[in-house]
Symmetry: C2
Subunit: 200 residues, 2 copies
DNA sequence: CGTTTTGTTGAGCACGCGTTCAACAAAGGG
DNA sequence: CCCTTTGTTGAACGCGTGCTCAACAAAACG
């Protein structure tokens, strides 16, 4: 090769990802990325084509590095499963004030409703990754006897995903962690409680 | 005055608001607004100072026109109250495919975490408007005997707001209305059901 | 050691952005 | 009926944007 890359690709993408995550796609300029990475535009464009390609790669990196990691740690490897679920939610806002830039998937889903195919697919894949994690965790909880199988796991997982996205909106807005903790602590058990479909 | 305004202010802001709501602040150019309103930049800038002023005014208009209206219709004037709550959620996605651009408050909360004071205050005011609507609706439901007062209304309202934001994220992403309907139909009764704080 | 291959450099381009302003046109006031 | 006031016009400006490219430098290869 030529001059040895200053970055390994995952590290580079993690850096780029962090900027997109904090500022959003539109508010991030290529010069922001230059400053964050120390690389000059030619390098970035040679490797990723354009700003959208850079964003797409960062989104994929987010799925692989951040989302999948959180799912594995909290939803797949924590016992009891429902405790892992709680930790999964809390992990979005327990890092102090400025440490929680929200979720790149949530931010992207909201920012670009008409986003081009690849970007949309990446968001869909990320959300499905999380929802599938919820389903696996629910199965473990049922197997452990912590949860009565009164509602299909698909249904419960979809509801958990919706609540999760909502929490992430509030996180990004800057809602106080104490309030978020209260929401999560009560809403998760309530959502999962057995229930003969309520009247309203 | 001079040439009679082509627009009444609320109509103008409703038009501007629709563009911001669909495209987001960053992706909306002043030329987009020119095209949507038929007004030329000088007029817009004379009245609102700059693009952010225009956005702030549109945000206030959203609170007064859209959010407050929905709260009143569904949360304050529908009986039984819990049926109104359901309708409030469903109203975010029952308008067909392209008809539901999501919520300007949600979109703004996500897009601009570091938004300047006024914009942030407007979002906070809008969210509080909705949360207060939830609280009033909960009081009515309890008074009507439809809901046991086992959990403080503040707590319940906060959870409903979180779920609401999550649904709006999914709406904006383009999740199928049938799936959203399933989420809402089951999650709302579950969230409100009486519960001795679950273990997990 | 020459050649190729590959990542890097950084000045620079065209474009669209937010914004301004001098000129104008229609209503109100005395 | 003039003068002021006020909303409108639209060309134009400076700037920051996304992006390009010719030159270059270091590893890989035989």
């Amino acid at each position: 090769m030529g001059r040895r890359p200053t970055w390994t690709e995952p590290e580079l993408l993690a850096t780029v990802m962090a900027v997109f995550r904090r500022k959003g796609f539109a508010h991030t300029s290529v010069r922001d990325l230059e400053q964050a990475t120390g690389l000059h535009p030619g390098s970035l464009y040679k490797a990723y084509g354009n700003k959208e390609g850079l964003f797409t790669a960062a989104l994929a990196a987010y799925n692989e590095q951040v989302a999948a990691h959180r799912v594995r740690i909290h939803l797949d490897e924590t016992d009891p499963p429902l405790r892992g679920l709680h930790a999964f939610f809390v992990s979005t806002f327990d890092g102090g004030e400025e440490a929680n830039p929200g979720c790149l998937l949530t931010n992207t889903a909201v920012e670009a409703p008409a986003l081009a195919g690849v970007g949309r697919d990446a968001v869909a894949a990320g959300l499905e990754l999380i929802e599938a994690g919820f389903r696996r965790m629910l199965e473990r909880a049922i197997a452990a006897g912590d949860l009565p199988p009164t509602t299909p796991n698909d249904q419960r997982a979809a509801e958990l995903l919706a609540l999760y996205q909502g929490v992430l909106v509030l996180v990004r807005f800057g809602t106080a962690p104490a309030k978020l903790a209260g929401i999560v602590a009560h809403a998760l058990p309530a959502l999962l409680a057995t229930h003969t479909q309520g009247e309203h």
